[in-house]
Symmetry: D3
Subunit: 237 residues, 6 copies
């Protein structure tokens, strides 16, 4: 199976889905991580260009932990808008990754860029198929299922599907620690340790299915529907 | 896997889930069909007792098509109410069938008995575990997942999970035809042929996942949640 | 009554509402069909310009079947975005068609252009009234009711209002067959015959109201509300 | 058209739907008002039996204003529960009134008896048809549409359908004034004049459709659906 | 302020609201804890009668930690149903506790007794006022606001209101530990330590408002609405 | 407390929240009123530039009634779109007003500019904090809570929080009367007096909490959540 995960900022996929991505990788599926913005607002000590460079390196290191391919579409942090250009670029990534499933943000998550990312992904879902949308890569011949990740701290979100990530929680933490610049900054801003923060959400999602750690997902409801949305995710043991 | 399907009337499980039940049976899972009422309002030519006897025989023949076990809890048609007695009897059936998954009506389906059946099933979900609820069978040691079937003609229902039943649509039709008394009666009442009726819904659910025939389901949202609700249903091919 | 139907692509109105539009026409109401994009992605053998020309001709022929006026706003297929220009053009169409009711896509339908079309229509609803929005036509003096069509295969949609189209199903099929280029292309893409496809949805909507074929609608909830939303649609016989 | 309105207490139909009932009567439709409980908690000066007698007389006077038939099913106020007995009695009323449409409380209205009344009505909808449910009157041969009235002060309710009652607001007030015992009691309890109270809600519902006074309704979503739910209500002028 | 908390089983209020109840008590409000069932299914080693006695003692000790009054309505565990008797008994408790606010289960929580408790509370809300409902205590003269607690593990629940319980988390744990019989039993059943279990949910609710521990609530939507639902809960510091 | 109210047009805040804003001011809180568009479509006798000038003066006079600061972001009426420029300007206003709470339109209100305003506000909520978003004012160090106002005539809106504005209803009316140009125009357009119009909605919201006049609000659900959303609003007396 080919899996494409699309996040708004360089650390979002790690926070919300790294346990599941690590399971896909463990099971031999091909994982591609694509980040839409440069994350260049994520600092109070560096310039935007410096921040972008630091975060790209961190994201690449994190993707390397599970052997995932990595793309960044270089949109401006805090100002991600849907439009012809970003759609065309994402269609090209989709044609490269040839996903059976695309994992992205929930449309009502807390951050404007998360909400925009979710809409951009859904809006591109059919376009990869259309030969008349010209990009570097060849058109695909299937329309992937779309799964929404949990929201930050779960506000406004109810999982429909759970993945037991107890086995990969340490990989998830390792990926999160690669985002060292953010971990420090957010700790100062919110007084919360990054890993502790993510653990709190994973531990409640785990409780819901009676395991130690889990991640929650919803399947986007849109024609054509994948037949077995629950089988697009890695199985529990 | 053990599958318990609980319907309000002797033909409901056939109309809404027989294609999936046939797939379970094909895959070697143990299927139990349990009907809560006698269906004894389903006639305009027989007495209630005669109707009950006719319909029980039809339902048993239908269950036999896929080799399912059959139970009827003998509640009065049109007047199914939750209460200690029906709960205790259903708990006993659950302890006999030892289901990994229970399939039943959606809580907002059109018929009062369907709505009552849905609530009774959800209300019994934890009770099988409690040794102090005494019934003929031994307590179970797991809490099954609960899946809701589609509603009649799909009003008020959006599938979350689909099962491709193209392979078993003929078995479904064969099971429906066992309910000969109802088929004739409903044809007079609604001017619709039973099988045609069911085909119309299956064909649209099929279109949603790009196959010929499908059935739709939702997973009940209640603690503890099964880890992989989508894997409680038979896989598409 | 004046009816304005606004679709994203040249065949959308036919798929989702042609039976009702034909009933309006039959009853002597004035029907205007307006398509926002050129549909110029709808081919794998022609150029975008050729495709646009072919599809415009097909749409005009289809509108002619029921004697409807036809407009195309020439936006790019797959890349329909709300903005000042498309709003102003649609306001001008609304001032020309002077609708009592506007029929358009549901805001959560599967295709990005459908979702955009739905929002653009709702966003233009009040603007026709404002004399200071200058267009070729004179301002209107009423705010029309807005009705949303069903979604493709009904995913994410529950009808509030049904129109019995048994009498016009053949007209609907005739209009669909005018879109010959799409019919062939979609058949190759999805393996589904266009007319069969549409029949499957019409037949289930029909079952919900106990007739052969129906189309489903919802009324947009927005001030000012039409007093009798159900009377904005053609009556069943 | 035959209209059956079913309220929980002797004044509920007047508060929430009298304007529409008066319009039905004006248009020559046959209106039946059925009250499920005796309203015998509605006093702080009389006994329950006295209160029941007073309120029955008031309700009959109110029904007489529009020439409606009147039934009371004599259930205890504050303790209305669904059950075989009340269902059978209501089925018999339905077989007598032969309604094309049944108007009742919204299932989430504020009072336990309102919520119970709503469920009892929906639960009886199909039963009138079944010959094997024996009551004094003959079975009906149609399943009526069900419309829910607004909730008290509109909490938890959004109208889908509006009726312009400007023409019958005075009749509505006249019917309300027949419930003199309640008007006085509620004035002491809530400090609100009955008619003023009802006017406040009617005036906002009116504003939503740009008229002076209106009442709001929703159609119950249940198979089989009436084809034209909006045409089950009296037309605006 | 007088606070009445109504739970289904002897430990439910502790699991879902003890942090907030402890804050009320700290602020000098009068807290009454009322449990509807005896909790007599909560054992696999004792008889029902023994279990009821053990759990009553545990619940009384827990209530004593914060100086709360305690009532148990002695309904059977697993078989709690709404009815005239339990309503009348709860009305009497409400007349004794004279609550400004009643805290109870969410209507869609996982356990049948939780769902029944929620409905019973809402159904009794107005009845305390009616002099003609006779109980040992005098009628109240106000209708309290109703707040719903979180569900177990938060499935199907989104908080509208949060209480920061960081200051009383240790009191909450102390109250939970009084339910020693359940703590041991649930540990065997679900493999989860009681306190750890509750901490996981409190820690995520805390994260949502950027504190260490929190509890979440919703206000029931029903006329008459308390003016300041957020002021019915203890303030954060 | 610092309160920032953001409306789409120069009179929206008065219609939907002036009673609450007046209460904040009475209690000594600092109130800032920010209007996103010039309201320059609001006339059928003046040019757009004249209309903008008239309405700005009216809005300033209205703000002066309660001593509120006033900003206008000069976007075009009827054509308000989210984008980098309007976001940056609003972030700068937020950094100037330093709000503890931001009050704005509901995301589904009837007018396109109201819906856009709601989204723009939510999209700017976090950005004030980011030092790398450069504006004239210094970054803030907190993320404010966001409250949504009622919709026009309450369509599609259910209050979660109510403010009793009986004490400030006359101030609200006085502020509305400052918008003389609109009052006259809307009277011609909708046949409704401005103040009467607003009174109708206030009187029903008042009825819901048993007072004379009220305004309704909802708290936006987004991380991080304010701990006590109900305490962000002025208390009832």
């Amino acid at each position: 199976m080919n899996v494409l995960a699309v996040g708004a900022h360089p650390d979002d996929l790690e926070i919300l889905a790294a346990g599941s991505l690590a399971l896909y990788a463990r099971d031999g599926h091909r994982v591609t991580m694509c980040v839409l913005t440069k994350g260049d607002l994520g600092s109070d000590t560096h310039t935007r260009a410096e921040t972008a460079a630091i975060r790209r390196a961190e994201a690449e290191e994190s993707a390397a932990v599970i052997g995932a391919d990595f793309f960044c579409l270089d949109q401006p942090d805090g100002f991600l808008f849907d439009g012809p250009d970003v759609r065309t670029r994402l269609v090209d990534v989709m044609r490269s990754a040839k996903p059976d499933v695309v994992i992205t943000h929930h449309p009502d998550d807390y951050h404007p860029d998360h909400r925009a990312a979710s809409r951009i992904v859904l809006n591109c879902r059919q376009l990869g198929l259309c030969g008349l949308v010209e990009t570097a890569n060849e058109p695909t011949d299937t329309i992937p299922g779309v799964l929404y990740m949990d929201t930050l701290t779960g506000i406004g979100f109810q999982p429909e599907l759970w993945v037991d990530i107890t086995e990969t929680i340490d990989t998830k933490r390792a990926m999160l620690r690669k985002h060292a610049s953010q971990n420090e900054w957010l700790k100062r801003l919110h007084g919360t340790d990054y890993v502790d923060y993510v653990d709190r959400q994973g531990t409640l999602r785990g409780l819901q299915i009676e395991t130690a750690y889990a991640e929650g997902f919803q399947a986007a409801k849109a024609y054509p529907q994948p037949r077995d949305p629950g089988r697009l995710l890695p199985p529990s043991l």
